[in-house]
């Protein structure tokens, strides 16, 4: 499959960007200059939770980029380079978790609705419609606000708003694929409904799903950063890109580096996923497969 990428320069760039981001995420502990410390904080429910904290040093406040601090420091004297690199892991984990969980829920519900049809289909699809009827950003904000500020809660909120489109997508796929004669052939040799669904229908609906997943990884990252920006995401002090931009916006005119580097990180990652998604779409289009 990889050789097909060579036909498209943009998808090659997308692939390279994503590989770079993944590399940074994996080797983040080795790449950073300063390391976070861990503190126990008590939550609203009376339990304790471990949180990441970055050492505050007001003497180094808002230093411009230089050999000491590659990307400069923020208004608490924390190293922006280390936080941006560290944030790669957080962001990738977040998008992967959200998109994969949403995909699994969507595939199961959409697959069952499309294949078995009838009453089950009606019930699942009407529930899906209810979720789709509410603007997804508003719904995510409501869920995130109700659950409280943390990365885990933002994941929950995004999963809640993200699965319905996968259920729709998959239902449509299943509806068209189950009309193929190989499905009927499988039934005529005595295959059960579940076998037909998992062996014949789902593997054939995989390509559009893959495209959607790749494009959504970028979209989820943007929405998560947006939620953090408006103060509904990660708790203050976390190395989350959206949160960092939010904190830096008051210093934008005298410390350009504060918002620029987390912003670039988001740009590169989202761009990478989008180019890769487009590339995969082109590759899986049978008309391009000669």
């Amino acid at each position: 499959m990889l050789h097909l990428f060579r036909h498209s320069l943009l998808s090659m760039i997308g692939l390279a960007l994503i590989l770079l981001v993944v590399f940074i995420a994996i080797f983040a502990p080795l790449l950073i200059q300063e390391h976070p410390s861990y503190v126990e904080v008590s939550t609203d429910q009376g339990t304790t939770r471990v949180e990441e904290r970055w050492d505050i040093n007001f003497e180094n406040k808002l230093l411009p980029p230089g050999p000491e601090h590659y990307f400069g420091t923020d208004d608490f004297g924390r190293d922006i380079y280390s936080m941006v690199v560290w944030g790669t892991q957080i962001s990738l984990k977040l998008c992967l978790m959200v998109v994969l969980t949403a995909t699994i829920i969507g595939v199961i519900l959409g697959g069952v609705a499309g294949y078995f049809g009838g009453k089950i289909d009606e019930i699942i699809m009407r529930v899906t419609d209810v979720f789709l009827a509410i603007p997804y950003l508003i719904l995510a904000m409501a869920v995130a606000a109700a659950l409280g500020r943390s990365i885990e809660n933002i994941m929950m909120a995004l999963i809640v708003v993200w699965w319905p489109q996968y259920a729709r997508l998959l239902r449509g796929q299943v509806l068209s694929i189950r009309e193929n004669q190989y499905v009927e052939a499988a039934r005529s040799v005595g295959a059960s409904g579940w076998r037909i669904l998992f062996r014949h229908i789902l593997p054939n609906s995989f390509s559009p799903l893959l495209v959607q997943i790749t494009l959504d990884l970028g979209a989820v990252l943007l929405v998560a950063a947006g939620l953090s920006f408006i103060g509904l995401g990660a708790s203050p002090g976390t190395a989350e890109w959206g949160l960092m931009i939010s904190m830096g916006r008051t210093h934008m005119f005298h410390a350009w580096w504060y918002v620029t580097f987390p912003g670039l990180a988001i740009l590169i990652t989202v761009l990478g996923f989008n180019l890769l998604g487009d590339g995969i779409r082109d590759i899986t289009d049978p008309k391009l497969r000669r």
Partner: protein
């Protein structure tokens, strides 16, 4: 061939509901198969011929219970397929198989041939592991393919080869009865002949019984022992192939057979041209389905539906003329 009847339908009906409105109220029905009585003897080939959209394919699928019949019975080896439960039906499935019209869409594009042909064996617990491989290879050889084809995907094959794979899959469970749903209509003429000959050989070797569905009358002449002519969801004439090509009773059959092209420019064809169109299966004409187009229409044709009656030995016709 002996006289043992392997499969018989009794007033078989398949109506597809047309739904409309917010409450999905059933407004009307498409009468794709309407009151069909046919029987098939062990080891013979019964051809079903008719125009596109007359319900031939639906008839084949209804017989195999791939779609549940609306009404009527299908008797196979003593049991009524339309009445038995899912479990028993799945036990009987190995005896009844189907080869599809379009070999491109009847093979899962994401499965290698070994998996496709082996699937029936795996599902029914016939073979596993090395044994499965041996059986699949045997099946591929039976239909004229080789070992090197086992690990390829369907798109790597030609149309004729794909149809051979479809036949191999149908043969996997040693069936008694196979529905051939226009197995050659998607193929070139030269390949058609190969597939037809293969089917004939297999029939002799394994004592298979075929229901051969086609709109191609020269093909059906080549392969069938008996032919049933279908028009607008109903069987209008059934006769042994030789009899039918010698003497057609039903006016529709006469018109249909006169439409076979003759490969000789000097022979002037005596084609019977029919007026009008094939009737809608939603609102079929009253009485005999064919009366609005029939050149020999009589007053009672629009009132009374003719029944399928035996006019001479083995030759059945549904027409008021006889």
């Amino acid at each position: 061939m002996n006289d043992e009847i392997i499969l018989k339908t009794d007033h078989l009906k398949e109506y597809f509901p047309i739904k409309s409105g917010i409450f999905s109220k059933v407004k009307d029905y498409v009468r794709a198969v309407d009151d069909v009585d046919i029987y098939i003897q062990k080891g013979e080939t019964l051809g079903i011929a008719g125009e596109s959209g007359c319900g031939k394919t639906t008839l084949g699928r209804t017989i195999l219970q791939l779609i549940k019949p609306t009404d009527g019975k299908v008797f196979f080896m003593g049991s009524d397929l339309s009445k038995i439960n899912k479990k028993k039906l799945r036990k009987l499935r190995p005896h009844l198989q189907i080869v599809f019209q379009d070999p491109a869409s009847s093979l899962n594009p994401r499965m290698i041939i070994k998996k496709i042909v082996g699937e029936p064996l795996v599902i029914n617990g016939v073979a596993k592991g090395a044994d499965l491989e041996k059986k699949v290879l045997e099946l591929l050889k039976t239909v004229g393919l080789t070992e090197q084809h086992m690990y390829r995907y369907p798109h790597e094959f030609s149309g004729g080869q794909r149809q051979r794979i479809g036949i191999a899959r149908a043969l996997a469970l040693n069936p008694d009865f196979i529905v051939l749903d226009e197995p050659t209509s998607a193929l070139d003429v030269s390949v058609q002949a190969q597939i037809l000959n293969l089917l004939k050989d297999l029939q002799k070797r394994f004592g298979l019984t075929y229901l051969f569905i086609t709109h191609d009358l020269s093909v059906i002449n080549h392969i069938s022992d008996r032919i049933a002519i279908m028009y607008a969801g109903k069987i209008v004439e059934v006769a042994p192939t030789k009899d039918l090509f010698k003497k057609q009773l039903h006016p529709y059959t006469q018109a249909l057979l006169s439409a076979i092209p003759i490969a000789d420019p000097n022979i002037k064809s005596k084609r019977t041209h029919l007026r009008g169109e094939v009737p809608s299966l939603i609102h079929p004409p009253s009485g005999c389905n064919f009366h609005p187009r029939c050149p020999k229409e009589m007053p009672k044709c629009s009132k009374i539906e003719p029944e399928l009656k035996e006019s001479s030995k083995g030759h059945f016709v549904a027409c008021h003329l006889y």
